[in-house]
């Protein structure tokens, strides 16, 4: 379609004697500029898409890592509960030793507690810093009580929504119900500081990504989240469903990472396109002009050649009489010089007097030589 229209435009734009229409540089430059703009946008879109894919992949990695690592901690607590269920309630010292080794292995666990059937914290490891929690009745805490009741009802570990921890900060508590021979024997609870735990989980994971983790709109963890995403397409939202609650993870590339991922290709294409359009248009214009000049020169040359063919020139030696100045032609006939010049050139002669002959003629006829002639004699503008 475009080519057909172009042929028509070409046909309409031709002037007699020209091979290309004069306006040709304009659409050529326009086409190159448009192509480079569209290509630049396409490269930009492709790059945005690749960045979004990178963030999505990082988000998948981060969410699965958080799930797996949190699950590992919960499984450890479940193993502790299994031993309790199998062997019955252990001695406090034995349990505390066991719990201490867990706290050692998982430093992000702030405390491991045993809560009895009446929802009072009886044992706690480490005690240092958690003394205030000992013998605390959890039925007074709404969210904690709800989680405990749910864990008891479902016979499964349950994580509380984010709560303000007794030792300060925001975090969550994992409650694992204990059943000995089918009878409830309290709960093993692990208190986790969200910021410390998630920092540990995500340490070295997707280092170029900003992360914001929230629960029910409340942000509980952030990393490099001071600068928002430049492009909304780069925001990747994911959910981490874990034992009774769901965390929302939002990730986007940090400005530094954006810079690393960004390629100047789109800008280069745009610049090269603009420059190319300018060059193409200029070259086309100059080529047309030189072509026109060449045509004009050729026409002028042809005209000159044609004129030269009609010019008669005298060449070689002319035999001329020393006295009467007659000229001998090729046939041996002696012509008057006027006749000879008239015959052999396009020139014609008109007769007159030179100053010397004019003075002599005037004197021969007895007239005074006019002042005008005398002046010319004085000027000596003759041989």
């Amino acid at each position: 379609m475009g080519l057909g229209l172009f042929f028509i435009a070409w046909k309409l734009g031709l002037r007699p004697g020209e091979r290309t229409p004069r306006w040709l540089p304009v659409p050529l430059a326009l086409a190159v500029v448009l192509a480079s703009v569209v290509l630049a946008f396409a490269f930009d879109a492709k790059q945005d898409q690749e960045i979004a894919q990178t963030v999505r992949a990082a988000s998948n990695t981060a969410t699965s890592l958080v799930s797996v690592r949190l699950d590992a901690r919960i499984r450890s607590l479940v193993r502790m509960e299994r031993r309790w269920a199998f062997s019955g309630r252990p001695a406090q010292a034995v349990w505390q030793d066991d719990a201490a080794s867990y706290c050692h292995d998982f430093p992000d666990l702030q405390a491991i507690e045993w809560i009895d059937g009446s929802h009072i914290i009886r044992w706690i490891v480490p005690l240092a810093g958690n003394e205030a929690k000992l013998n605390r009745n959890l039925t007074l805490e709404v969210s904690r009580k709800a989680a405990i009741e749910r864990a008891e009802r479902e016979h499964q570990p349950v994580i509380t929504p984010m709560v303000t921890l007794f030792r300060g900060g925001s975090g969550f508590i994992v409650y694992v119900p204990i059943f000995v021979k089918g009878q409830p024997d309290g709960f093993i609870a692990a208190t986790v500081n969200a910021q410390a735990c998630l920092s540990r989980f995500l340490d070295g994971v997707a280092p170029g990504e900003a992360i914001s983790l929230s629960e029910h709109g409340r942000v509980v963890f952030t990393r490099d989240a001071a600068t928002p995403a430049r492009n909304p397409d780069w925001l990747v939202d994911a959910k981490i469903p874990i034992h009774g609650t769901t965390w929302n993870v939002r990730m986007w590339p940090t400005p530094k990472f954006q810079k690393q991922l960004s390629s100047p290709l789109a800008a280069v294409v745009l610049c090269v396109g603009a420059l190319g359009a300018l060059l193409l248009g200029g070259v086309c214009f100059l080529a047309q002009r030189s072509s026109r000049h060449a045509s004009e020169t050729m026409l002028a040359n042809a005209a000159l050649k044609s004129a030269l063919e009609h010019v008669k020139t005298l060449e070689g030696l002319l035999p001329i009489c020393s006295c009467c100045k007659r000229v001998r032609d090729d046939t041996g006939y002696w012509n008057k010089i006027e006749t000879y010049i008239h015959t052999h050139t396009n020139a014609s002669l008109s007769h007159g007097y030179c100053p010397e002959c004019a003075a002599k003629t005037f004197e021969d006829f007895g007239f005074d030589v006019p002042e005008e002639v005398q002046a010319q004699l004085k000027a000596k503008n003759f041989e």
Partner: protein
């Protein structure tokens, strides 16, 4: 039949080029229309997963092809404004639908489309095609009559260059896997054979 008034005996190649281009355009559109009616996806979308040539696009290709043929035959007084006008109107209305997020009912006015691959709205031609048809149709209307203003050739040439440029970029987009080159934003994408037809 005598030669058209604008026929220049020394430039038969340009006329022939326009005629061949028109024939290709019309044939491409007709094949796609045939594909739509006879449920032959290869004619409509070349390969599964690729955007189809929408019914309206195919119709516009046929009309543009006929308009080009009409110009080469010298029938510029009636055929060009009618054929070009319809094509330009369809392009303008579709672009208007995109710009104002409107539904004017033209997308499936002539045919109920059944392939939605790469389409933002069922049956709506891509904005790339709509823009090109608007340019092409307007250029055809401008060519009405044997003579015209001096800038007419420049305007038609510019419209043609832009269309060719869009087409080449779209083809390059298919070649180098650059969806942004044949689909503007999240809107319907230009079919591969539509890109070839626009060029």
């Amino acid at each position: 039949m005598h030669a058209p008034s604008h026929f220049h005996p020394r430039r038969p190649r340009l006329i022939a080029g326009a005629a061949i281009s028109g024939a290709f355009c019309a044939l491409l559109g007709l094949l796609a229309l045939f594909g739509w009616y006879c449920h032959i996806p290869q004619l409509v979308q070349v390969q599964p997963g690729m955007a189809p040539m929408q019914y309206n696009s195919a119709l516009c290709f046929v009309l543009m092809g006929l308009a080009l043929e009409a110009w080469t035959c010298g029938r510029t007084r009636r055929a060009l404004p009618v054929l070009g006008g319809i094509v330009a109107l369809m392009g303008a209305l579709t672009l208007g639908e995109y710009l104002f997020r409107a539904r004017l009912g033209i997308d499936q006015l002539f045919f109920r489309c059944y392939i939605a691959t790469g389409s933002s709205v069922m049956g709506r031609m891509s904005p790339v095609a709509a823009f090109s048809f608007l340019l092409g149709g307007s250029a055809m209307v401008l060519l009405t009559g044997a003579t015209g203003p001096r800038w007419r050739a420049l305007a038609v040439g510019s419209a043609a260059s832009v269309t060719i440029s869009i087409s080449l970029v779209a083809i390059a987009g298919y070649g180098f896997d650059l969806p942004g080159a044949y689909g503007w934003g999240q809107f319907t994408r230009l079919a591969a054979h539509s890109a070839a037809g626009l060029g």
